[in-house]
Structures are given as structure tokens and as C-alpha cells.
């Protein structure tokens, strides 16, 4: 049976609370002044907590991220106490999960490109890279496409392009990748399930 909140207030007949403190002659000046000071200095910050799952081993421990709503940045990551497997605790690597966020200076932030024979990376935009990749994929695929095999059976294989990875991305992304690869006719498909 689901009880409503309203029901209780009547039953319990809670009394006494809910009277303004000032009615009882309490000087709330200092509290008000402090609240005002915090407000003026904009020290009251909005944040949110978000649940996520650890990305190291496959135990699947739950995590709670605390995020600053203004900057959008994660400022704390801790074990999810409700999670039945980890029950709020984390291993050493999981406890260092925060070091995988943008707080880690080595994270990739730009599209990098290395031209044939190039000695170093160049920064590029998505709008430059995506059409270029699509073109390369089409050219490579079409050039080596095997419509029929040696026996003459219809196979529709793109043997010149291949896909590797990944067990480090979400399931939905895996499905998209595999769908993409199969639609392109790839058969050389593999990932870390083997390694």
C-alpha cells in the first residue's frame, strides 16, 4: 500500500514546529547577515550528482560524479553506495577515476592529423577530417572490393578495410560500429574480447 505524505501529517498531528523563530524573540540577525553575505559573494553554487559506471575492469562498479552546474566540470567522483556490487567502495584504480577526466592534461582535445610522410601531428577540425576520412574509406573499399570469391559465390566483402575495437566504449557505440562495419562489407573485425 502506498501511503501519501499528506496522510501522515493528519495522523501524526505534528504540532509545535513551524512557528517563526522571531516570534519567540530570537535574534536572527547574524544568520540573515551571513546568508546575505554568501548570496552577495555568489558563494552559493549549484551542482548536481550523476550516476555512472567505472571504466576499468568489468566488475561494473557504480560511481557518483559531482558536477559544478555553472562550469559543467566534474569535481568529485566517489563510489555509489547504493550499488549492490561495490556498495560504495572502490579499488585503487577506480578511486583514481577522476584522473581520467579532463583534469588529466594528457587527454586528447583536438582532431589530430598526420599527412603521409609527415613528421608530426597537425591540428584539424571535424569538418575537415570527416569528409576526408569518408573519401579514403570509399576509395579503399571500392578498390579492393570482392563481390564474388574464387568459387564465384556472392560474398560482397570489403577486404581492404578493417576495424579494431573496442571494449572500452558503450554498448550502443559498439552496435553502431559493428553495424557500420558490416554495412561497409568488412570482415576483418575484431576487438579486445580476444586480447
Amino acid at each position: 500500500m502506498e501511503m501519501t505524505r499528506r496522510g501522515f501529517l493528519i495522523v501524526t498531528g505534528a504540532v509545535g514546529s513551524g512557528v517563526a523563530l522571531s516570534t519567540f524573540g530570537l535574534d536572527l540577525g547574524p544568520v540573515r547577515a551571513y546568508a546575505e553575505e554568501l548570496d552577495k559573494a555568489k558563494r552559493l553554487k549549484a551542482a548536481k550528482q550523476v550516476t555512472t559506471v567505472c571504466c576499468y575492469c568489468s566488475v561494473g562498479c557504480g560511481l557518483i560524479c559531482s558536477v559544478d552546474k555553472v562550469t559543467g566540470k566534474i569535481f568529485n567522483i566517489e563510489g555509489d553506495p547504493e550499488h549492490p556490487i561495490n556498495e560504495g567502495s572502490l579499488c585503487a584504480k577506480g578511486a583514481g577515476f577522476f584522473d581520467l577526466t579532463e583534469a588529466n592534461k594528457y587527454r586528447l582535445r583536438k582532431v589530430l592529423y598526420r599527412a603521409p610522410g609527415g613528421m608530426d601531428w597537425e591540428e584539424k577540425s571535424w569538418d575537415w577530417a570527416i569528409p576526408r576520412i569518408a573519401r579514403l574509406v570509399k576509395d579503399a573499399r571500392d578498390k579492393g572490393f570482392v563481390a564474388r570469391n574464387a568459387k564465384g559465390e556472392l560474398v560482397n566483402r570489403a577486404e581492404t578495410i578493417a576495424h579494431l575495437g573496442s571494449s572500452n566504449v558503450d554498448s550502443e557505440e559498439c552496435w553502431l560500429m559493428v553495424t557500420k562495419a558490416r554495412a561497409l562489407g568488412m570482415v576483418y573485425i575484431d576487438h579486445q574480447a580476444r586480447v
Binding site: M3, F8, G16, L21, L26, V31, S89
Partner: protein, 292 residues
Amino acid sequence: MTDIEGASARLAREIGNVLERNPQSRNILQAFEPILQEKARLAERIVCKQIDPSAIDRSRLAGGIPVIRQTPLLLPEDPWEEIVRAVIPAIIQGFPALRAELLVLQKGIDDGTIRLSDFYRAQDGHPVLARWAAAIVVRQVAIDFLLWAAEKPVLENRRRTLQEVLSTSGWDRGYCPCCGELPSVAVIHEKIPQRWLHCSRCGHDWRFSRTLCPCCARESQREMPYFFVEGREQETAFICASCKRYLITVNHIGDLEEHDPDVLAMGMAHLDLLMQQKGFLPMTVSAWNVFD
């Protein structure tokens, strides 16, 4: 005896600690300290007719029906006179402004005009309260406040005898399994970051999911919003976008010593003010979170 003294010393120490961090709450804490101290003493001392824990229907409890809906927690035969005699001086000490009214009440109780058992015997207590107010010249709020202070030790006393039932009930609701009240304050522990809700009415603490709103049970894994004081990250108020309530929460509280969540909450009255200014309502009205 030593237990009571220990508890009293702990409470005093805790208030001292909170005041060190939140001196702006001095007036509030000092006003309530005598009442809290007296409550602690009384809860230990008074003899109430005990509820037999085995009489609590565990399956109904598991179904979300708190004890108070199964059996009354405040009885006419409870030692109200003893309690009131102890509580009145404590209130006067904390709230000198109420002195005159409370002395009138004291007199009314002494001469039998006011019998608290009447109130707890009545189906509907309101006429009784009105009658009292008419018989003696005090504000209704003074009577309310006295009742509030008097009920606390009784509820706490009964709640303790039910502790085992309550803590093994697998209670997963946002309101108190004992007295049905919504929480006034929560703590989130640091090491294993569980959230524990606190009922300021009967003093019960129970664990509750961090992704549900205790008030309207709305789940929000994607975004459970809260506010915190910059530089004082432990001082937070969790809010519910759906029911527009807030819950004062001590985030990442340590576990080296026990805490009195009521005292912690009073130290964070500034957050109550700020959240109310932002248009949020507290989950429950406590004696210290109504300002105007």
C-alpha cells in the same frame, strides 16, 4: 547516569564545534541547547508504557506503513506532567521572551486547567488546544512550542525500544518509519558515501537512496541537483526539481565521532534561509527552519 552525562557532554562539545565553524548560528544553537539537553535527559529518564516490538506488523512496515500508523506513539498516560515541569525551565532558559507565557502555562498545569493527557486522548486535538488558549491568556504558538518540546523525549524514548525493528525493516521510504515525519536534515558519509536521513521529531536515522527525492520519490540518476557553499563543500542543500523541496545535507561527513544531526542542521540555518529565498520549501518544518 554516566551515560546521560556523556551524552550531555557530547552534545555540548558538538555545539561548540558547530559554533566554531558557524558562529552566525550562535543565537539559534544557544536557544535550543537547553531544550536538547533536557530532551536527552528526559528520554533516558522517563518511564513510558512500552510498545511491544513484536506487535509491530513487519510486513505492513515493509509495505511503507510507519509505526505510528499501526500504534499510537503518544499516549494520554505518558508522564506529561513530569516532562512539562522539566521542559518549561529549559525553554525559558533558551527563549526568555516566552517566560511570561510559559509561567502562565505552568500555573495552568499546576491548577489542573491544562491536562496534556486530554490532548492525547482526544480524537482531534484542535478543540482541546483552543479550549486551553481560551482558558488562559497565552498565544497558541506558545502552547504548540511546549507540546513540541514535550513530545520529543517521549517519541525518542519509544523509538529507541523499537530500534531493532526499525533498523531491520528494510525501510526504503523517504519518511520516518517510526513517526512518519519527513527528514529535516541528511548526512552523506565520506568513506562509504551513503545518505542517512534524520527525523528531528523522534530522532530516527535511516539510510536512503541518493538518487531519490525523499519527499516525492522521484528518481533522478541523470541529475540530482544541489547547492553548496563555496569553500564549505560539506554544507549542502539537495533539491528536487519536481516537488520543489530542499533537504539540508551535510555532505561527506566524517565518521570519527557521532553527530547530532539536529545540531548540524541548526548550524546551517543560513542555507535554509537561502533555499527559501530561492523559492524552495523544506521537506518538513522544524523548529528552527521558519524565519518569517
